[in-house]
Symmetry: C2
Subunit: 606 residues, 2 copies
């Protein structure tokens, strides 16, 4: 009989190897004892890059960011007990943002359950309905090691995490003591590899971090629209004036969409309202020099005017929605007022329709939708329909630009930060946006003009739109860049979001040491401005219960985690110093001080 | 029909009021929008004290600490979405440490489920088997408001959280928009209160923080031992030499136990091995001037010697175990080697017996056990049995004291910290111990001599023994002190534990402003020394995978959160400066730098 520690290691190595053979290349590990064999197996596997993050909560979000860039599942590893539960916030976000994760929790064996053993909890259904599935693995055994059991488990887990509805999969793995192989040498490793009899992707330990482009994407089947439905669709489209609305898209949905939607809106002569998180507002490198004139950006602004003035807005006969429900509250109010025939294109089969307006839901990707509609007999819509939208767009764009430049130099608010950020950021960058105010401000202030014909990707945790784990997600997105200066990376978050995931900054030292550069901009209005826009603001208890000022001076966070630090308090410094920050090496923290009162006034003015 | 916002508020106020009527007095709130009515109801209720903590994870542990001191359920409130999942680590600890919590999560109404609404997730079974129950409340309605529905829910939730097996209860509460009452004045409040027709515990808003002593304890029924079982028990006790082992006890189990166990061990002339977390090592104020000579403290030390030398240790004929399985690994190895007849006294019906040694499990509290055994015909055991244990105890005590004083002044390790802490800490204090090394060191270094006849309570999160949420738990324990200088409070944690819950320190500013004083001692050995004692230490990958140095300089944490800061790097400073720290106002952070190599050597020497 094999030594239990050796068997544990072979067991873990075999499982990790099966994942590696399917293309998994990244593992995020929170140190612990029970998970020893899993951690070692990842570290020793030639095709797995390991990342260490002590706080499992931040580890979960870091893996989420990595997986979103990779469009491949990322492995998470932690020890038994409460450690596993810290993944939950990231699991929920992964589930709702369709991000594949492989959650490998170590556990104590069955005999130590329900008898007061240390760090032992019921791990069988920790994530309830928020994982695609939970797989409970048997304890290591020689018989199962030598048949296809672990291969079956890993194939199943991989498929469930990347197939029609990508998301997290929980794999619980009990380990008996001793947890470690007796000896551990290079020869042992080779011996185990041979013993497993499996083919390794690489023969040498050449751990390079694969970029989003070079890594193999998860190969998934494509759902296509049936001929009957396609005919009904073209009939609807030809029945009157229509509108395409494109909300947040997952990385997988974005791939290849820009060009197809560009062609489709041109063929239909139809406006498309473009949420910043669809990543269709910025031009695509090598495709269009100017972007599409059919894409509408400033609807949040002009629909708000309609809303305020009670002016009857444009009424489409049909609406086709792609992706998640859009960010803009004014667009939501507009859609609520309409009775247009609404078709929901749902990549993952979910009904992303909080207004309950969809007449039809079609289960296919936006790319597939465009591909199938383009060759049909759909007709071009009248020029005046598109023109009406374009006129509103242009008026809003001018108004926004004028408002920003027209303000007193001493005034500083979020609009200036975004405008200057977009002006100063290098072409070919990505931006991670916090929830609450930042994403709403991006929605308002990314105009056609402010994109400066740059190619920029926008990310945000909009699955469940939490203020949690944002810094770690950003660092995970950053970490997946083989060529570290390929895309410059900026995060823009509020102070509460920054506070909530400060522990995630522990990864910065490692990333800096590895040569990564990035900037985190924290908009510090001391307590989360969003509640200023909600009715709670009228209550006497507002300051205590909602306007939760942290009174934190983030320069100390910067010093704690070894970030370069800059504080900006006026427009002049913003315009003169921000571009320089992007030239620095390492990871920068820029704290922009904004007064809540000023911010509310400026937003109201625009 | 009532305005929905008004109805929401009445709904929330009624629920909170029913909890207040049962004795609940503390609510820990993480700000959010959907939870508005709940937060307001707590804030406006005359008998509820509210605490604000932005990070829900830290909020959960803060409530855990409060509830442990109060021995009463504490309310947690947060908004919908991923926010709720951050409670999970504290929920798991509360479940395993038998701590009552009322988890009130706001939710979106049913019609917004499963349709892509923002911040909306399936909240129905988030905590799976780790809550005593999950209660899904209906949306606010006038009909249900005016009957006993919410009273029924709150009575049920309260009972499930405090009865035979105390623990967390999840109550999920959907709210429709608008979330707020139209107007909100003092008259409205009175109107609502009258409308509810319920009796308030206090007529005026006199929010004082009730201390553990003054607060009403949850009234629970007592399980007693049947006559048949009692006879079998006394038979066992009279059958030979026995040993009582007392592990960690919950606050409720501790109440009244010291005196009874003192009497019982005296009557039986029987040794009792006392885990530091039973809170029986320190004398009880007003009861004994010297403590019990039957209580054995240094078993970890002398059992280790036996383990090393292979010397045959003392063999009891029977063992009675009270509370959780003890902390000491050497005691565990000793118990594993025995075949004594073992009786497990289980307060909450759980089989806390990871060695599977219990012959009988009796469902009653240690207090009840003592009360029923004392009047029986149990016989006194032979003097030499007790003496053998006392001799070992004394030899170990002398050896430990000599080792500590005999070391080079330049040497500094955990033993010195604990010895000096116990010497300098004011009488009538409480200490919160981190897991991993600190609790093991307390186990070793709290000798009869080092207690200095002080009365000190020791707390730790030993339900699942995580490194998570420790600072927040400590601050929660601290917060429940009406008379703020009644008990001095010290936390002793390692650097990884400190790092994991730094966000919890946000509460320090408020506590300092309210006049609380306390000291947090962080033993910084840069990476968690415990793995040095595990076999992983032999691996080449040890430093990367387990010895996870954070390289953080905690003086910046102190500055970020407004703590006074002192760094200690040698025995001289420890002995001369620590006592002064305890005289300062506000919250102090003392960072003690210990070198892992020194620490391992010193532990080995002793």
């Amino acid at each position: 009989m094999s030594h239990t520690g050796t068997l544990n290691y072979q067991w873990a190595f075999s499982l990790i190897n099966h994942f590696a053979l399917q293309g998994v290349s990244q593992a995020v590990i929170s140190p612990g004892s029970r998970s020893t064999a899993l951690a070692l197996a990842c570290e020793k596997h030639p095709d797995i890059t390991t990342w260490i993050q002590i706080d499992e909560r931040s580890a979960g979000f870091f893996a989420l960011g990595l997986a979103q860039r990779q469009q491949l599942p990322v492995i998470l590893i932690c020890t038994s007990g409460s450690a596993v539960t810290h993944w939950f916030p990231a699991v929920v976000e992964a589930s709702h943002s369709y991000t594949p994760l492989l959650l490998l929790s170590a556990d104590r064996p069955q005999q130590l359950q329900n008898c007061g053993a240390n760090q032992t909890i019921d791990q069988r259904s920790l994530f309830s309905s928020h994982v695609r599935s939970t797989l409970l693995i048997e304890e290591a055994s020689e018989i199962l090691l030598n048949n296809a059991y672990l291969k079956q488990i890993s194939t199943q887990a991989y498929a469930q995490s990347v197939q029609h509805k990508p998301g997290p999969v929980h794999i619980n793995i009990p380990f008996k003591e001793p947890l470690l192989p007796k000896r551990f040498t290079r020869e042992d490793l080779n011996h185990y590899i041979n013993l497993l009899g499996t083919q390794l992707l690489a023969k040498s330990k050449s751990k390079t971090i694969k970029s989003a482009d070079s890594a193999p994407k998860a190969a998934v089947s494509t759902l296509s629209i049936s001929q009957v439905r396609l005919e009904l669709l073209t009939e609807t489209i030809n029945s009157g004036n229509g509108l395409i609305i494109c909300g947040r898209l997952s990385s997988r949905e974005q791939t290849g969409l820009y060009e197809l939607l560009f062609q489709l809106t041109k063929k239909l002569n139809c406006p498309a309202l473009i949420d910043p998180l669809s990543n269709l507002r910025f031009i695509q490198r090598g495709f269009t020099p100017q972007g599409s004139s059919h894409f509408v950006y400033n609807y949040d602004h002009f629909l708000k005017q309609h809303h305020i003035t009670g002016h009857t807005p444009l009424k489409p006969d049909w609406i086709i929605r792609l992706g998640q429900f859009p960010t803009s509250k004014n667009l939501m109010l507009y859609l609520q007022s309409l009775n247009s025939h609404t078709i929901l294109i749902s990549s993952y089969g979910d009904k992303l329709d909080p207004l309950h307006k969809a007449n039809t839901q079609i289960h296919c990707s936006p790319v597939q939708f465009c591909k199938q509609i383009l060759p049909t007999s759909v007709r071009t819509q009248p020029e005046n329909w598109l023109n009406s939208w374009q006129k509103l767009e242009q008026a809003s764009e001018t108004k926004i630009a004028q408002s920003l430049t027209g303000m007193d130099q001493s005034t500083l608010f979020e609009g200036h930060v975004i405008d200057t950020l977009l002006k100063s950021i290098p072409d070919n960058s990505f931006i991670f946006s916090g929830n609450s105010m930042p994403i709403r401000d991006f929605d308002t202030f990314i105009t056609r003009r402010s994109t400066h014909n740059k190619s920029i990707d926008i990310y945000a945790n909009r699955g469940v739109s939490g203020i949690d784990g944002n810094l770690s997600t950003f660092l995970g997105l950053l970490a997946d860049q083989a060529d570290k200066d390929k895309q410059y990376a900026v995060a823009l978050v509020g102070d509460l979001t920054f506070y909530h995931d400060m522990n995630g900054l522990l990864m910065c030292k490692k990333l800096s040491a590895m040569g990564y550069t990035a900037t985190i901009i924290v908009i510090n209005n001391n307590g989360g401005g969003i509640f200023n826009y909600l009715p709670q603001q009228q209550l006497n208890d507002f300051d205590k219960l909602w306007n939760t000022a942290t009174d934190l001076d983030f320069q100390y966070s910067a010093r704690l985690y070894g970030l370069n630090y800059l504080k900006i308090e006026n427009q002049h410094d913003l315009e003169n110093k921000l571009a320089d920050v992007f030239l620095q090496t390492g990871i920068q923290l820029v704290e922009v001080i904004i007064h809540q009162k000023t911010s509310v006034e400026c937003h109201a003015n625009i």
